[in-house]
Symmetry: C2
Subunit: 324 residues, 2 copies
């Protein structure tokens, strides 16, 4: 079996084979630029880890893994247009560096390229992985639409927020694992359980991303601390805080999240203080643990020996910051 | 065998089955709106005509035909954002009626839905039609990028323009016919020839669209006459005129195409007069005939009896306005 580090290297090599030197160059340069931005390649690694765990031939899963990574990057490209985001992974976004039209069309081309790679796999698994991918892709769009709706919505409930991140983030992680399992020829029950494992890992992962925005170490997290607060992003922490508070803290919170004109550092400091008073950090950690525990319940049902499970388990433990 | 009218009805029924009542409604309403705008459904009809001509089971081609129509509508949705187009088929475009973000994301979802339908076909043909579709989709994006590049480019040659419309328009018509042929299990040589037939029909079709913009009957054409001139669109007629003229006509032409501030009727009248003087109508008709004749050469090579060829031939004759 392969380590996640070895699989990351395999993905990096495979990404070099994606066609990014085509013509017109105005279309392909932004795609090359996007790939060069890097990333942790979590989803493709998960495809390969699942395939390997179920005793599949990893090489048969490399192209579908690349497909999912291309698709993920395509969604970031289009999301950045919709969010008017200037920075991604420390560099200018495609819509900022070029323009929105370039980002739309390069994104569309990446979506095509994703399918081009997806279909290069075990013919027996083809129809299944096409259905998994297409369903996940539709749900990711639905999640992004809910996210946009919530930007202008005054009140979002926690279940609504969880459903949004399930669609926008968790289903693609679940689909990655499921794809690897299907290519390996895993049994139906195992395929279902690894999907549910992935979905709950995905929820824990996104909630942790929300948490790290404020309580993370900037050097490890790789993003500016408090970015979600500065841009008024309604994360789990904000929704939970709104639900838990009243009086001055409530009106202050609503006030801070109504504009981007505040001094960033001051705003982050003030909102964090409110969160601290309400114990939002602790409730978020508790919910992350709840989802990850649920994930592990599904994981324990897989008909695979523990020594084969070890590498994937270690990988998700690290992802959810539990090195135990 | 079915008539093209019968196949159009079949397509209309199948389009009603596309999922457009999902949630969030902000995502699906623009998709439903786009389908309701109608259209001639040329591409899906061609899928079914080719399948029927090669003796295939038409029902096996219905979903891939719907897929290509959804994809075509997706490209229009995204093109309208890039072109800032306010009107499509006599109604407000999605980006105008809603906004650009809605059009981006609804379009992305349509692209997903296209694949969802594409894969519901004869499993034997699956990998082939996926490759045909994915390749065509990439080329359509490349064509759109060239089209955008040429908007700001001072000089475009006729070969460059032909290559642009080949990618943007002709390959999808070619891919439609090829898809139908592959589903029917046609022989390799026939599959290649029907693709080349479609590509040349597609070129003739686009050139005719350029021609009808000025020399068409508004009641039949369905668009305002002179729209391309008003919006400074560099069609074949414009490029040909630029190449053929000099002196005052040349400077007038460049002057007219440098702004949208002119009185529309006056501008269309003046440019049409220049085109008339240069015989641009006649050269365009000649080129349309050249491509359609080339198309028919490929068509004649198909190993199908003439009586089976009749319906598709009649359909493309009507499309290229040759009822002979």
């Amino acid at each position: 079996m392969y380590s996640s580090e070895q699989l990351l290297e395999r993905i990096k090599v495979a990404l070099l084979d994606v066609k990014i030197d085509g013509h017109p160059k105005e279309l392909y340069e932004p795609i090359a630029y996007t790939f060069a931005l890097g990333g942790k390649r979590i989803r493709p690694i998960m495809v390969l880890l699942a395939c390997d765990m179920f005793g599949g031939e990893v090489e048969m899963a490399v192209n579908p893994a690349v497909a999912i990574e291309i698709f993920h990057n395509f969604t970031l490209l289009h999301d950045d247009i919709m969010d008017h985001a200037p920075i991604r992974r420390g560099k200018e976004t495609v819509c900022k560096k070029w323009n929105a039209n370039v980002a739309i069309l390069s994104g569309d081309t990446m979506f095509d390229l994703a399918y081009k790679h997806l279909i290069r796999t075990n013919p027996k698994a083809l129809i299944n992985i096409l259905e998994i991918f297409t369903q996940a892709a539709i749900e990711v769009c639905e999640g992004q639409q809910y996210d946009m709706n919530y930007e202008t919505s005054k009140s979002i409930t926690i279940p609504e927020y969880i459903e949004m991140i399930r669609l926008k983030t968790a289903v693609l992680i679940a689909a990655s694992l499921k794809t690897g399992a299907v290519i390996a020829g895993a049994e139906k029950k195992d395929v279902q359980n690894i999907y549910m494992f992935g979905e709950n890992v995905g929820l824990a992962f996104q909630l942790q991303d929300d948490l790290l925005d404020i309580y993370g170490d900037q050097n490890i997290f790789g993003k500016k601390i408090g970015g979600d607060i500065i841009t008024n992003k309604k994360t789990y922490l904000y929704i939970k805080a709104l639900q838990e508070t009243k009086g001055t803290d409530l009106s202050d919170l609503i006030h801070y999240f109504s504009s981007t004109r505040f001094d960033p550092d001051e705003k982050v400091k003030a909102v964090t203080k409110i969160y601290d008073r309400l114990g939002v950090k602790e409730s978020t950690v508790a919910l992350i643990n709840e989802y990850y525990d649920k994930a592990l319940t599904y994981f324990s049902k897989l008909s695979v020996s523990n020594d084969k499970k070890f590498i994937l388990k270690k990988y998700t433990d690290q992802l959810i910051s539990r090195n135990c």
